[in-house]
Symmetry: C2
Subunit: 513 residues, 2 copies
């Protein structure tokens, strides 16, 4: 237990100081401060020593240099049990400082407000982090508080211990201090990396704020949590049980699929991070039914993602089936009330979702792989018709729809479509031929009764041999869209011409593992 006798207070965020100062005053803690914090403390009616009087050195450079003084750092950094330190402190007429209360210039705010570069530079705090770091280093003897959210815990601690604190308490605060300084520094580093367009610096620092721990990870014996860049969730849960790790994973995969569909027109059903049915029919109820019919067995217990606002009529249809999550760009009142009746069903409003994310990454043991997001938007000029038979506009659009779904299916991916809906999706196979067969089997299983005059297919990467496209054409596919790049491209074009298949090559491949 160490008693606090002298504190230095220097805060940018001046919230909630009163109860804190009340308690410091109760335990007769002397307070040193300067500038705006000094004024605030005096205004609140507490005694306070001017920092410049304490150090006998003027504050200069518009506050750039005030606390950076050996009397301050001697007071913070000396080891109370070290005789030599004790002697040096005495000799220089320094005094122990037992408590640092500081928080930093709001650098992150300055960035997010997109103020100019000079203003952002001014918001790089030098003195604050230094005091906090010094106090945290010497937590054996010193208490450090660097966030107003710690005030209450601190007040409880000194109330319990009559003005003293325990070592374990000080250690926890030291941990949190370095968490804050590391976070602060990571944001500065990120800002400079962005400014100089340095996307792969020698040392890469990522920082995230906790949203919540999930009940467990991919499996119940794994602990897990979700973090975000800003610490707030870009999706809003309106109802249902807490989201699980797998829910989050599926949910963002679902968002990815519907993001690539035309605005306000698209439903995807997702299971195990893969779409099992997608449709962009103008009629939303039809759209849902079509997505469901693509693979009604897999859809069971899946996620429905709509890139439009949910209405009551669609909600009635969706309610008939067992899903874990319904996502939409908002829900009208009637649809919420209806769907909320299913207590376990999670309703997610994604109308606020917006991403400025440019990179994705994945950890692999001690390594991480980082890459640009594959967020290319297609128009016709990104493709080349290589068959003799040419697609009309409508056919071209349908092929682009198939390709946009296919890019979000796990590789190797084959998607068979009819009009603007999927009828067979083959995913996650080591062999492209197998993905073709899976897509065909799905189609045959669920679409038997219907006439599908126009079956189209998309592949996420080139066909290495003719066999894959052959299998598709034999099953009724009359137009294929795929990346080029195979040694056998010519053979594949020849086969397309022989069978009067429309063949379109894309310039970009879309592996997605």
């Amino acid at each position: 237990m160490i008693k606090i006798q002298k504190a230095l207070v220097s805060v940018s965020n001046k919230e909630n100081l009163k109860p804190l100062l009340n308690n410091l005053s109760k335990y007769k803690v002397e307070i040193i401060s300067s500038g705006g914090t000094y004024k605030k403390i005096r205004k609140l009616g507490f005694k306070c020593i001017q920092l410049s009087e304490f150090t006998n050195t003027p504050e200069i450079l518009n506050g750039r240099v005030k606390t950076l003084h050996p009397k301050i750092y001697g007071g913070i950094l000396n080891k109370r049990q070290n005789k030599r330190h004790h002697k040096e402190i005495k000799k220089n007429n320094y005094e122990n400082i037992d408590l640092i209360i500081a928080n930093f210039y709001p650098f992150e705010d300055a960035i997010s407000k997109k103020t100019n570069h000079n203003n952002i530079l001014e918001n790089i705090d030098i003195g604050g982090p230094t005091m906090v770091r010094a106090a945290a280093k010497n937590y054996n003897d010193v208490v450090v508080i660097c966030n107003p959210n710690q005030y209450e815990r601190f007040i409880n601690e000194i109330k319990t211990n009559k003005g003293s604190t325990s070592l374990s308490f000080r250690e926890k605060l030291a941990e949190e201090a370095f968490m804050e300084t590391a976070y602060y520094e990571s944001k500065i580093s990120e800002y400079f990396n962005k400014k100089t367009s340095n996307i792969f610096p020698q040392k890469k620092i990522f920082s995230y704020k906790l949203i919540t721990q999930t009940r467990y990870g991919e499996n119940p014996h794994q602990k897990a949590a979700i973090y975000s860049k800003n610490g707030y969730q870009d999706i809003i849960q309106l109802s249902g049980k807490n989201l699980s790790y797998n829910n989050y994973n599926d949910l963002y995969s679902a968002l990815n699929v519907t993001d690539f569909l035309p605005n306000n027109r698209g439903i995807a059903i997702i299971k195990h991070a893969n779409p099992c049915g997608v449709s962009i029919n103008q009629n939303k109820i039809k759209s849902f039914k079509e997505a469901l019919e693509s693979d009604p067995i897999s859809a069971f217990g899946g996620i429905v993602s709509c890139n439009f606002k949910m209405n009551i009529n669609l909600a009635k249809e969706i309610k008939k089936i067992y899903f874990e999550i319904i996502m939409a760009k908002g829900f009208d009142k009637k649809s919420i009330n209806l769907l909320k009746k299913k207590k376990n069903l999670r309703l997610i409003d994604v109308s606020k979702f917006k991403s400025d994310n440019k990179f994705n990454f994945i950890s692999r043991y001690n390594s991480i792989l980082i890459q640009n997001e594959d967020n290319k938007n297609f128009s016709k000029k990104d493709f080349k018709v290589v068959s003799k038979r040419k697609p009309n506009n409508e056919t071209f659009n349908k092929l682009i729809f198939a390709f946009n779904v296919c890019r979000n299916v796990k590789s190797n991916a084959i998607v068979i479509t009819n009009d603007y809906k999927t009828v067979g999706i083959g995913s996650g196979q080591p062999s492209r031929l197998d993905s073709c067969q899976i897509a065909i089997n799905k189609m045959k299983m669920f679409q038997n009764s219907k006439k599908n005059s126009e079956l189209f297919a998309a592949s996420d990467a080139f066909f290495p041999f003719v066999d894959g496209i052959e299998k598709l054409v034999q099953s009724g596919v009359s137009a294929v869209i795929q990346p080029s790049g195979s040694k056998n491209d010519k053979e594949i074009i020849k086969f397309a011409n022989l069978t009067k298949t429309i063949l379109v090559f894309s310039k970009t491949r879309h592996f997605n593992h």
Copy 2:
């Protein structure tokens, strides 16, 4: 262009100072320093002002407080163009400091050497990062060097500009300074989080060192890089083209599969991050042939991963087939010489590979999902025999082999085995029934000619209905290992008993997406 007149040098790493000091002396830069750095500079034969003389303040607390002085920070932080700043500097008899050369106490080294906590605390540098941060903030007027790897660039810059530096040069160094301080701080934060077992702190900071940029990402239009915790690669490439992003992804998936096989006995062939054949036959050539036979079509262009040292006889067999990567725990000379002849074939030595990684994470737009690694090792006590027919020891071991392969196949996963080899793998399907069918189809396609008296199957999660296990048993499977947890577990046990199938339940699920 700003001319350097006064420099402060305070380095923990004293490498390569001589050429640097030579050039500073050439351009008549005054140098201030203290402690070990001062001695080193004098020893190298250069003039140097003692810091304590410059500040007229003694160095105290075993060097804990030496540079933290307003004369230093006034000298660094004043804006040269600001009249008020200029006046204050004059009035206080301060002087401009135009160059900071500093690097920090080796905190990361102290951690990795596992020295005691007090020593680690001593290695938290307070003065160094503060000087570097202050100089970087004021890069408009000040140059900051915080890593010996910048000396050469700096020397070139002042040679080119006759003792001056350009703004763009100073900005780049400021960027690198904040990269270094952010990295340094992240390591301190990580250390404290570990010490207090805080696995999901409110703010999580990850830091990595660049290994290399890859030619592109998952696809050619995506930029990408690989980073690691320590900045060195835990795998060694002996031959072949540079590794691609997808290579790395597959390679670590392959390591994961073979990691779970018995020591010095196991081959897996991987394609698109999924195993397509695995065997643990004692005879290594047989083992390879069995892994290959599991799905020779998918194996084409894949990765072979051996959890033992490669020998010439096995190399001869492997060389007959087209693979992209061969991984092994070392290669004997003859095998390297043979395999190197295939110029594009990448040979990877994983004998040095070791992972202390406890968490994995994946980014999803602005969020990241973090979880414990699923690294559970199984023994019989983790399972429960629920069928009337009981497995003997051998059968149990074979089932555990099947289960260990299955956990590393993308969900939903079904693996059919015979003895200690896979004969059918169904992966990445939204429906478990489909994964069963894919595994069965594979088995039928490639194993037709053989008698497989004993076919076993593993599932990564429970069967929701009887239909999946029914399909497997109808195809000749006589023992099944699977997690429990379905509403229909009882029905499934009943079905197993009816068909005299051995049924083993595991306590843990192993989804892997």
